[in-house]
Amino acid sequence: MIDVLFIGLSLSSILLLVALGLAITYGAMGVINMAHGEIVMAGAYVAVLSGIWLKTSFYVALPLAFLAAAALGWIIERLVVSRLYGRLLDTLLATWGVSMLIQQAIRLEFGLTFLGIHIAGLGTGLQNVAVPAELQGVVNIAGVELNAYRGFIVLVTVVLTALTWFIMYWTSLGMKVRAIIRNPKMAAACGIDVRKVNALTFAYGSGLAGVAGVMMSGFKGVSPDLGSSMVVDGFMVVVTGGLGSLIGTIMASGLLGETNALVAVATNDILARAVIFAAVILVIVLKPEGLFSFKRR
């Protein structure tokens, strides 16, 4: 039982890292970023590429992926999303186009396949990332054997969530973001540079997604369509948790991750996902503002 809950916890952790970025961008900027999953995928490819080309260890990939994904997010925000503020559904559609572009960029190795050039680590195939030896075993805690890698995922997530918490509630940048979440026009009127803060927020959320990608690369093969299901799961979490609510996102990812693990053990993976979708539909219908939301002003 505890091992199932632990698997659920590690699922929740990855969900949380993916959803945090979505929750912030959706809550603060009214942007539905369908390319978020592809940013996760890009993070996973940073792990693949840094392993092959830089010969660095898995741990180095974490900050690298954060930076690369943040840069990618920043570019997307500047080029596409910033032109669409206030057109919520259009952001959804445009970022879907962006996600197709990113996927194809990896598949076609940035178009170099047409020139007959091949870059190791890119392309349509599955790539593997070597997990450090110390994370491969099991850890014995209170008589229960727990997978060390899953423990590492939980640990990193806790650290990053705490960091996000700190930024959001203890720095002036965080205060600006929270002001924008509550009322963007009023925030702008108070002298907050909404454009700049939005771009930074978007980049930070993307960075978290990049780290999530590195974590995922550790226990499953990396392929260009790795991210497409992640963005759906991420949105399920955001909607369940409530818009712009950090606590809500944390609780909802825990809830959905654990439900997924428990149902998967009781039946199978497919039904587990189906139950999650059914639960989310119920939540939207019964409590559209999310389970853990605050009142908007």
């Binding site: 445009a94 879907w96 197709m100 572009l101 598949r107 497919i270 189906a274």
Partner: protein
């Protein structure tokens, strides 16, 4: 009749003549292909109706398409010669036999726990009726729940998205009854009053073209009725329309059902033309792709969305002939989509409309001051957020 209206009429007439003229130039194999594009055109119409006119972005239109397709496919599967085992007089789909537990009776009623659901589909008419009825029933239930609760904008999109993925998962999981990942293949041709619709025949193309024309004209007429106007008003400002005493959810549900019915019919046509039904119809990518077609063609124009769907698919088919370009195509369509949303929110139809409007105003004494766009969907979304 205003100039605008005359031009619209011309465009519709031109399109209808064009699709009926195709068989003069194309062989049977090509016709089968184009018939598929016409089916996609129907999906474009459904998206334009629900997105452009009702303001409901359905990211799960594939659900209704898939339901329609599966319903008819079940009937055609039972009519297929592969369903008749040697010596048996009652049909049992082949995949059920492969999945049957040892000792299970080889009969549709009880070969597995849920196979009795297939019994009514022995009559082909049941498949045909259910192909429209089931999507409409599902849409009505969903619409009543969602629109009564006044759920709006992205939440409706996410519900529809979650629902189509949910149904897809269940469909794949219920492999003994639905054929799982493989879907339903090896189908018979549709037969109505003794006429067999062979997918590679002119008859089937006429069927697709006829139904598309009917849908196109009917949809265009229905949005001009009083109900259609109330719907468009509700898209622009729900609260005001509600204040005027209209039951907005009723109108939304009705048009949601109409879009579902169109998609269901499209699904059935697809099965007749392509002779298979597969869970990929309910992939998220497929549903979003439909939205791409409509967006490029013109989300607020029924004909535009329809033509957009057909043109994009024709281009895709053309490009896919060259192996190396298959991957590039996806990137191109992604780029086109981003650019359309950014710079052409009303799609090709909007662009064409503006150009013709500008051209027409040159020839007249007074320039047209109040240029009324076909729809203000792009404008309304600004308000929504």
């Amino acid at each position: 009749m205003t100039l605008d209206r005359r031009l619209t009429l011309c465009a519709y007439a031109l399109f209808i003549v064009a699709i009926f003229a195709v068989p003069l130039f194309v062989d049977e194999f090509g016709l089968n292909r184009i018939a598929k594009f016409l089916v996609y055109g129907m999906l474009g119409i459904a998206i334009a109706l629900s997105w452009g006119y009702a303001g409901i972005l359905n990211l799960g239109q594939g659900l209704f398409f898939g339901l329609g397709a599966y319903m008819l496919a079940m009937s055609l599967k039972l009519a297929s010669p592969t369903s008749l085992q040697q010596g048996a007089d009652k049909p049992v789909p082949d995949f059920m036999l492969w999945n049957a537990e040892p000792g299970a009776p080889t009969d549709l009623c009880c070969i597995n726990k849920a196979s009795f659901l297939w019994l009514p589909f022995q009559h082909q008419s049941v498949g045909l009726v259910m192909g429209i009825a089931l999507p409409v029933i599902v849409a009505a239930l969903l619409g009543i729940i969602v629109f009564r609760k006044r759920i709006e904008g992205p939440f409706v999109s996410i519900i529809t998205l979650a629902l189509v993925l949910l149904v897809r998962l269940v469909l794949v999981d219920a492999q003994p009854v639905t054929g799982g990942f493989n879907g339903l293949t090896d189908l018979a041709s549709l037969e109505i009053f003794g006429f067999e619709f062979d997918p590679y025949s002119k008859g089937t193309y006429w069927l697709a073209a006829g139904i598309l024309t009917l849908t196109l004209v009917a949809t265009r007429l229905i949005v001009e009725t009083r109900a259609g106007l109330v719907l468009q008003a509700a898209r622009d400002d729900q609260r005001r329309v509600r204040y005027l005493g209209f039951d907005v959810s009723l109108y939304q549900t009705f048009f949601f059902c109409v879009a579902a019915a169109i998609s269901g019919v499209a699904g059935m046509l697809y099965v007749i033309v392509a002779q298979f039904a597969s869970p990929t119809f309910m992939d998220l990518a497929f549903s979003v792709t439909m939205v791409v077609w409509a967006a490029v063609g013109g989300r607020a124009s029924i004909l535009g969305a329809c033509v957009g769907a057909i043109l994009i698919n024709m281009m895709e088919a053309g490009i896919s002939e060259t192996e190396a370009l298959v991957g590039a195509w996806k990137a191109i369509i992604g780029l086109v989509f981003v650019l359309t949303v950014l710079f052409l929110p009303r799609g090709l139809a909007g662009l064409l409309h503006d150009q013709i409007g500008r051209f027409a105003s040159v020839g007249r004494d007074k320039p047209r001051v109040a240029h009324v766009p076909m729809s203000s969907a792009a404008v309304t979304e600004t308000k929504e957020a």
